[in-house]
C-alpha cells in the first residue's frame, strides 16, 4: 500500500470516528437536558401532590407554626390581577397587531414597532415592576392590585402584538380582497374578515401571553406586594400565587414549604394546560384546508 492510500484510509477512519463521536455527543446533550426536566417535574408532582387537599383551595394561610391553611386568597388574587392585566393588555395588543398586519404593511414605522416589541419582550420583569412602583405606588402611597395588574398588562402587550400580527399575516389576501371587492369598508374587513379568520391563532397568542405573565413574580413584588388575608379590593395589596410561593420558599417553616410546593404544582399545571392547548390549536392551523 503506498503512502497516499494509507493516509487516505487513515483520514477516512478519522472522519468516520468524528462523525460517530459528534452524534453521540449530541444525543448525550439531549439526554442531559431532558433528564433534569423530567426530574424537576416528577419531584414537583410528588412533593406538591402530597400536600394538595381541599383546604388548600378554600382556606387562607394559617398563623405561623400552625398546621393547615391554604392558598385560596393567592389563587383568587392571582385571578384578579391577571383579569386586570388581560383587560389592559389584550385590547391594546390586538389593536397594535391589527395595525401592523392590516394598515402598516411595508411601512418603516411598522418595522420599528415590530422590532421594539421584540426588544421589549426581553426587558427584565423587575424593571417593569420598579417602573410601575415609581409611577403608581409612590403617587398613591400604598400598594395595590391595580398597580400589579398594570405591570403585568404592560408585559403582555408586546407578546400579544407580535402573535396577533403573525396570525393575521397568515390570512390569505384573497379573502380580504373579496370582502373589499364587495364594498365592505376597510375597518370592517379587518374586524369581521381578518380577525375572525385568524381568531383561533389570536386567542392562543393571548393564552400564551397569559401563561407567561401568570408565573411572573418580580413585577408583583413592589406593586401588589402580597396579602395574608382575604382581599378583593383593587386599591389594597393583594396576594398572588407566584408571590406567595416565593415568600414561603425562603421562609424557615416546614409547613410553609409544603404549601409552596403545592402552590408551585397548581401554577405549573395551569401553565402546562395553556401551553399544550396552544400547541394543539397551532398545529391545527388557522384555516382548515386553507389556501
Amino acid at each position: 500500500m503506498d503512502f497516499q492510500t494509507r493516509s487516505m484510509r487513515l483520514n477516512n477512519a478519522r472522519r468516520k470516528v468524528t462523525n460517530y463521536l459528534v452524534s453521540g455527543l449530541s444525543i448525550l446533550a439531549t439526554i442531559i437536558v431532558i433528564v433534569p426536566l423530567i426530574a424537576i417535574l416528577f419531584y414537583l408532582i410528588y412533593k406538591g401532590a402530597s400536600s394538595l387537599n381541599l383546604a388548600f383551595f378554600t382556606h387562607i394561610p394559617a398563623p405561623v407554626g400552625e398546621e393547615g391553611g391554604g392558598m385560596a386568597n393567592s389563587i383568587v388574587g392571582s385571578g384578579i390581577i391577571l383579569l386586570l392585566a388581560s383587560l389592559m393588555g389584550v385590547p391594546i395588543g390586538i389593536a397594535a397587531g391589527v395595525y401592523l398586519a392590516e394598515f402598516g404593511r411595508g411601512k418603516a414605522l411598522a418595522t420599528a414597532v415590530r422590532f421594539t416589541a421584540d426588544v421589549l419582550n426581553g426587558v427584565p420583569s423587575i424593571v417593569m415592576g420598579i417602573s410601575i412602583y415609581s409611577l403608581i405606588v409612590i403617587q398613591q402611597k400604598h400598594f395595590s392590585a391595580l398597580a400589579g395588574g398594570v405591570a403585568l398588562g404592560i408585559m403582555m402587550i408586546p407578546t400579544i402584538t407580535r402573535t396577533t400580527e403573525e396570525m393575521l399575516a397568515t390570512v390569505p389576501h384573497a379573502i380580504r380582497e373579496a370582502a373589499l371587492g364587495l364594498g365592505v369598508p376597510k375597518w370592517r374587513t379587518a374586524i369581521s374578515v381578518s380577525l375572525r379568520t385568524a381568531s383561533p391563532g389570536i386567542i392562543t397568542g393571548c393564552m400564551l401571553a397569559f401563561a407567561r405573565v401568570a408565573g411572573e413574580t418580580a413585577p408583583l413584588l413592589f406593586t401588589a406586594f402580597g396579602n395574608q388575608f382575604w382581599s378583593l379590593k383593587l386599591n389594597e395589596p393583594i396576594a398572588a400565587l407566584p408571590l406567595q410561593i416565593y415568600v414561603y420558599a425562603i421562609s424557615p417553616y416546614d409547613e410553609w414549604h409544603r404549601l409552596a410546593w403545592a402552590g408551585a404544582l397548581v401554577l405549573i399545571v395551569m401553565i402546562m394546560v395553556s401551553v399544550t392547548l396552544v400547541r394543539i390549536v397551532a398545529n391545527r392551523g388557522v384555516l382548515k384546508g386553507g389556501s
Binding site: S23, L37, D118, V123, T161, L182, V275, N283
Partner: protein, 339 residues
C-alpha cells in the same frame, strides 16, 4: 352563488326589513361606516395602540431616570466602578453587582451553549421523525416553567446537591484552580450559574433550531454530494451558514440571563461581594433590587437601587437589540418551521 352575490350587493327592500330590529349602533355604523372618515379613524386608533409600544419604552426610561436623579447626581459615573454598598452611611457603588451579573451569566452561557447546540443539532439533523415532536415539546416546556418554581426547586434540591455532591467533587478534581476555595454553603455563584444555565437553555436551543432549519436543503445536499460525513455536512453546510444567527441566539440567552431575578435571588447568597471562589455568596443587579427594594429606608438608597434598575434596562435593551438584528438577518427569507 351568483344570486347570493347579487342579493348582497343590491340594497333593494332588504335593509329596511332586516334592520327593523337592529340596534342604533349597527344603524349608525351601516349608514356612516362606509366613508373615508370611518376608515381613517379606525386606522388612527390602531396606530395609537401600536405607538403605545414606543410609549412604554420611553415611559420606563424616563421614569427610571427621574427617580434615580439623587443617586446620579451624587455618584455620577463612579457609581459603576466603586465597590462600596453601605446603606447605613449612604455610600453606594454597583461594582459587586456588575461582577455578580457578569460572572453568573458567563458561567451559565459556558454550561448552556454546548448543551443547547447539541440538542439543536440532534433535533434538526439526527432525530428520527416520530421522536421529534415530543422532544421539542419537552424542551419548550422547560421554557414555560416560571422562574419562581425553578427557584423553589433550586432551594430544596440544587443547593443540597451542590453542597453535598457537586461541591466536594469539584474541590477534589479541580481544587488546584483556586476557583473552589472557601466554605461551600450550597448558595453562591456556582448554584446561581447552574440554575441560570437550565433556564436559558431552551431559548438558545429553540432559536438555534429555527436558524438551522432556515438553511436551505440545497446547501446540505451539495455538501453531501461531495462525499461528506453527516457531521461534516452539518458543520460545513449548516453551521457555517448560520454562524451569525447562532451568535444572535446565544446573545438572546445572555439577555435573559442578565435580567433573571427570582431564581437567582433565591440561591445566590445576597451578599455584595467580589470574590474569586465560585462557592462565595454574591449578588446580581437584578437580585439586589429584588432583595433590598422593600427595605430601602432612605431616599438615596432607593435612588441607588433605581439607578441599578436603569442600568439593567439599558444593558438588556442593547444586548437584545443586537441579538434580534443578528437573528433577523439570518431568518429573513426562511421558510416557517414545521413542528
Amino acid at each position: 352563488m351568483l344570486s347570493t352575490v347579487a342579493a348582497a350587493v343590491t340594497p333593494a327592500a332588504a335593509p329596511q326589513a332586516v334592520n327593523a330590529a337592529a340596534s342604533p349602533i349597527r344603524d349608525f355604523l351601516s349608514r356612516r361606516g362606509s366613508g373615508r372618515l370611518a376608515d381613517a379613524s379606525f386606522a388612527a386608533i390602531m396606530l395609537v395602540c401600536a405607538l403605545s409600544i414606543f410609549a412604554i419604552v420611553l415611559f420606563i426610561l424616563s421614569i427610571l431616570i427621574v427617580r434615580s436623579h439623587l443617586s446620579l447626581a451624587q455618584f455620577g459615573w463612579s457609581f459603576f466602578t466603586r465597590s462600596a454598598w453601605d446603606p447605613v452611611s449612604g455610600d453606594f457603588g454597583a461594582l459587586p453587582f456588575i461582577f455578580g451579573t457578569l460572572a453568573t451569566s458567563f458561567l451559565a452561557l459556558l454550561m448552556a451553549v454546548p448543551l443547547a447546540l447539541g440538542v439543536a443539532i440532534f433535533l434538526t439533523e439526527l432525530c428520527p421523525q416520530p421522536l421529534r415532536a415530543p422532544i421539542s415539546f419537552l424542551t419548550e416546556l422547560l421554557a414555560a416553567i416560571p422562574s419562581v418554581v425553578y427557584g423553589l426547586w433550586a432551594v430544596f434540591v440544587l443547593i443540597p446537591l451542590v453542597r453535598d455532591v457537586i461541591g466536594p467533587f469539584l474541590v477534589k478534581f479541580f481544587g488546584w484552580t483556586t476557583l473552589f476555595d472557601g466554605t461551600n454553603f450550597g448558595v453562591g455563584l456556582l448554584t446561581a450559574s447552574i440554575i441560570l444555565a437550565i433556564m436559558i437553555l431552551p431559548i438558545i436551543s429553540s432559536l438555534t433550531r429555527d436558524i438551522m432549519t432556515a438553511v436551505p436543503n440545497s446547501q446540505r445536499e451539495a455538501v453531501l454530494a461531495l462525499g461528506a460525513t453527516r457531521w461534516e455536512m452539518i458543520r460545513i453546510g449548516v453551521l457555517r451558514n448560520s454562524r451569525i444567527g447562532i451568535v444572535g441566539a446565544i446573545m438572546l440567552g445572555l439577555g435573559r440571563a442578565l435580567g433573571e431575578t427570582m431564581a437567582v435571588t433565591m440561591v445566590i447568597g445576597n451578599h455584595p461581594n467580589i470574590s474569586k471562589s465560585l462557592f462565595a455568596p454574591a449578588n446580581t443587579l437584578a437580585s439586589v433590587i429584588a432583595g433590598e427594594f422593600s427595605e430601602a429606608t432612605s431616599d438615596i438608597y432607593l435612588s441607588a437601587l433605581i439607578e441599578i434598575g436603569l442600568a439593567l434596562f439599558l444593558v438588556t435593551i442593547v444586548v437584545n437589540a443586537i441579538a434580534r438584528l443578528m437573528v433577523w438577518a439570518v431568518t429573513r427569507n426562511a421558510p416557517a418551521r414545521v413542528q
